[in-house]
């Protein structure tokens, strides 16, 4: 028989006003097994906790029931209190008589009666409680970063700085991500490549960082502290070790008509390519969709010119496994496809471009060598119209419901750069709202208007019609209360951004949750912004929501800090409330194994004593307490009733039911 102490809290007047605490403690004192019962003004206070500890020693209590606020509030507090006084923390039960009693009832009699019943249920449960000890599971001191953009690079650098091994998995042939395609960065206008490429080199040279480029995550097993990840290294048909990145093959390859995706298809590259001069790793890759040798077996020019002998047409996708303690998702974003917005004539005229394409047209390493020229005829444009919020802030069926956040600023940057480089151009920006929250952001936008004379017009473009080499733009000027007709040379669309298309399948592999827009959800939108609700998975950059570069870097470092905090630990404390099979009752049917969402249950052959001194070998279930999260699905699936959940056992819950119904 347990020796139980009951402690009823007043919570000031929060409980005492609608529950007769004195009566509750008196009535509960009559319950079997209760050897001590009292009430106090603030049980969670220092004095209250000391009272509990003293009573445990004085009356030799083996179990404690605290009638107070929700266990979500102070269960941990009281468990710690009791642990210090020498009893197992899992011998403490909370009767929730505040949130679920005193606060929802006005009548004191009703409240008191319900509090007594809730107290009885808790006492009935404590009678069946057993001391539980939390197990531990070791932490693999290595992190995986999925995505090698600026977010992934920053996270990896920070983790490596703390002395842990980091692997970056990047699906493209080079790390760097979207930032490599950007020309200048707002609001300081420093060149993106100048600040990014040193970081890429740092990552490549850091001996703690290993970069798997042109690779993808194939599958993820395991749990926080001990993930088992299979990585697929896609065949690039070039030996990464032998290739020196001299680039001779990329000049000699006869297949010249391959859209250059790095320049968003604005120009062509060869079938064997290095995305750009500063690529990391600087290794050529063969595009299997275009390579004549791989398609028809006739060519082999690259292999003939390669002095290092790095070309290998027989290369296959490689798979390998690696253990990680933590996984950081940094899959980033993409501009949306513009098929739905045909009023802007994006598919009809090459002179209608997205903002990212415009970045390439402005970039010195881009298809035009940094001179702004119209893609259609290579002429210098004189009138440029920028359209904001294309596909952002839309009704669900018309586009993305959210604000893409970065467009206002990069459009201001584009407009400013146009006017700076080519003062003879007329630049119009059509906006719904100009959103410039950020350090020096609004000043930047005002400079575009005041110093550079960009025409900002409140209104929207209704349609763009290509006609006689011009783009006829029809737009509204809401403040001028007129409709504008502009003959433009170029139209630049600030397309909404969306999460990368690989994010959704990755989330399934990681069992991490996503919102309806395919952005990863945080464990808490305000207080835990860089963690996924799934333990051990962290979020970095635009995979969590639209972000500009400073924010991305900030979040990347924050995610790194969280990862370091995890990897610093040698062991993780597991949830002690895990499933436990009764081996004598288990018939080895595998029902529990099938329902377990964590794969925590395995089957082993075990020897049992049979009749007449024989031994029997039977197949029985075994639960890995480090993996089990304690949901209890298996306990109900078990047909023989062998599986039970520690801390919430069948008997305990039934005792509660009995106490409530009696």
């Amino acid at each position: 028989m347990q020796r139980i102490g009951v402690f009823v809290c007043w919570c000031g007047s929060n409980i005492a006003a609608t529950v007769d605490v004195e009566k509750v403690s008196q009535v509960l004192a009559q319950e079997p097994g209760v050897v001590f019962s009292t009430n106090y003004q603030y049980m969670c206070s220092q004095a209250g906790q000391e009272m509990i500890q003293q009573s445990i020693k004085e009356y030799g209590l083996t179990g404690v029931v605290v009638c107070s606020c929700s266990p979500r509030m102070h269960e941990t507090t009281f468990r710690k209190t009791c642990e210090k006084a020498g009893i197992n923390p899992h011998m403490v039960e909370i009767a929730n008589i505040r949130e679920q009693c005193s606060w929802i009832h006005k009548d004191k009699e009703v409240g008191t009666e319900k509090a007594i019943i809730l107290g009885r249920a808790a006492i009935a449960k404590v009678h069946l409680n057993t001391p539980l000890t939390a197990g531990t599971s070791p932490v693999v001191k290595r992190a995986l970063v999925i995505g090698g953009g600026i977010a992934g690079i920053q996270t990896a650098l920070d983790i490596a700085d703390a002395g842990f091994e980091v692997d970056i998995v990047e699906k493209q042939p080079t790390i760097g991500g979207k930032m490599t395609q950007i020309d200048k960065t707002f609001p300081t206008l420093d060149c993106a490549a100048c600040i990014l490429t040193p970081k890429m080199v740092d990552a490549a040279q850091n001996e703690k960082i290993h970069i798997y480029s042109y690779s993808e995550v194939e599958s993820v097993k395991g749990f926080v502290g001990n993930f088992n990840v299979t990585i697929k290294k896609k065949a690039r048909y070039v030996d990464e070790v032998k290739c020196t990145g001299c680039g001779l093959c990329t000049e000699k390859c006869p297949q010249k008509k391959v859209p250059n995706l790095f320049n968003l298809g604005l120009d062509n590259r060869r079938a064997i390519y290095i995305p750009f001069a500063q690529a990391v790793p600087k290794v050529a890759t063969i595009d299997a969709d275009y390579c004549t040798m791989l398609k028809s077996g006739k060519c082999g020019v690259c292999s003939k010119v390669c002095t290092a002998g790095a070309i290998n047409y027989q290369q296959k996708d490689e798979f390998f496994e690696q253990q990680y303690g933590a996984i950081v998702v940094a899959t980033g974003f993409n501009p949306i496809k513009l098929d739905k917005y045909d009023e802007f004539a994006y598919s009809q005229s090459p002179d209608v471009v997205t903002s990212l394409e415009f970045e390439r047209l402005m970039n010195a390493a881009g298809p035009t060598g940094g001179t702004l020229l119209r893609p259609s005829d290579g002429e210098h444009p004189h009138t440029i119209v920028f359209v904001q919020c294309v596909g952002s802030r839309c009704d669900d069926e018309k586009g993305k419901p959210y604000c893409s956040k970065i467009c206002c600023m990069y459009t201001a940057k584009h407009a400013m750069l146009c006017r700076e480089k080519y003062p003879d151009t007329d630049v119009y920006v059509f906006y719904i709202d100009v959103r410039t929250p950020g350090k020096n952001f609004d000043e930047f936008y005002r400079r575009a208007v005041e110093e550079y004379g960009v025409h900002y017009i409140k209104g929207m473009v209704g349609k763009v019609v290509p006609q006689d080499g011009k783009l006829k733009v029809q737009a509204s000027d809401l403040l001028g209360n007129r409709q504008l007709h502009i003959d433009a040379d170029m139209v630049v669309l600030a397309a909404a951004i969306e999460p990368d298309e690989t994010a959704r399948p990755l989330a399934t592999k990681l069992t991490a949750s996503m919102d309806t827009n395919d952005f990863f959800t945080e464990a808490h939108p305000k207080l835990r912004p860089v963690e996924s609700p799934t333990a051990g998975i962290f979020l970095s950059g635009a995979c969590q929501g639209p972000k500009d570069i400073p924010e991305t870097v900030a979040q990347a470092s924050a995610a790194a800090a969280k990862v370091i905090g995890l990897l610093c630990k040698d062991n993780l404390t597991c949830n002690p409330c895990t499933a436990e099979p009764n081996e004598l009752m288990c018939n080895g049917c595998s029902s529990c194994e099938k329902v377990c969402p964590y794969g925590a249950i395995t089957y082993v052959d075990k020897e049992f004593r049979g009749p007449n001194r024989t031994t029997l070998i039977r197949r029985v279930a075994q639960v890995n307490p480090a993996v089990c999260q304690g949901c209890g699905a298996c306990t109900v699936a078990c047909p023989s009733g062998a599986m039970d959940l520690k801390g919430f056992s069948n008997q305990q819950i039934m005792a509660e039911v009995d106490a409530i119904c009696r």
Binding site: M460, G462, Q483
Partner: protein
């Protein structure tokens, strides 16, 4: 009356984010006294009287470009249609009287246009 217009059009003017894409798309913009985005605002703020007295509601072509383009699916043309219905349903407010037709006829006007105008502008 505002509720009536909202009900028969099925439009919720509060969804409007005042981007002006409707007015940018409107082919009859210069013919109108109030423009599509203003229609939405006037219904929302209850200035229906002015709208009902405006000639602009008859200049709307009902081409539904604004409905098609509106990013928030506010559908201004449906509002205009509803306001027009509210007006022509009143006593003596028929906009197009049969007697007025011969004077308006010209050879290039298709028969169908007259029929549809008739449907649109009278009770």
């Amino acid at each position: 009356m505002v509720d009536f217009v909202k009900r028969i059009s099925g439009v919720n003017p509060r969804k409007c984010m005042k981007c002006g894409k409707c007015s940018a798309s409107c082919p009859a913009y210069d013919e109108m006294e109030y423009h599509p985005h203003q229609f939405v605002d006037m219904v929302e703020t209850g200035r229906l009287e002015e709208l009902m007295n405006s000639k602009g509601i008859y200049t709307c072509l009902s081409c539904f470009a604004c409905v098609e383009r509106c990013p928030r699916s506010v559908e201004p043309a449906k509002l205009i249609e509803a306001v027009r219905t509210a007006v022509v349903r009143q006593q003596d407010k028929t906009h197009l009287k049969p007697d007025a037709i011969p004077a308006l006829l010209d050879d290039e006007l298709p028969q169908q246009a007259i029929t549809s105008a008739f449907r649109k502008y009278r009770k």
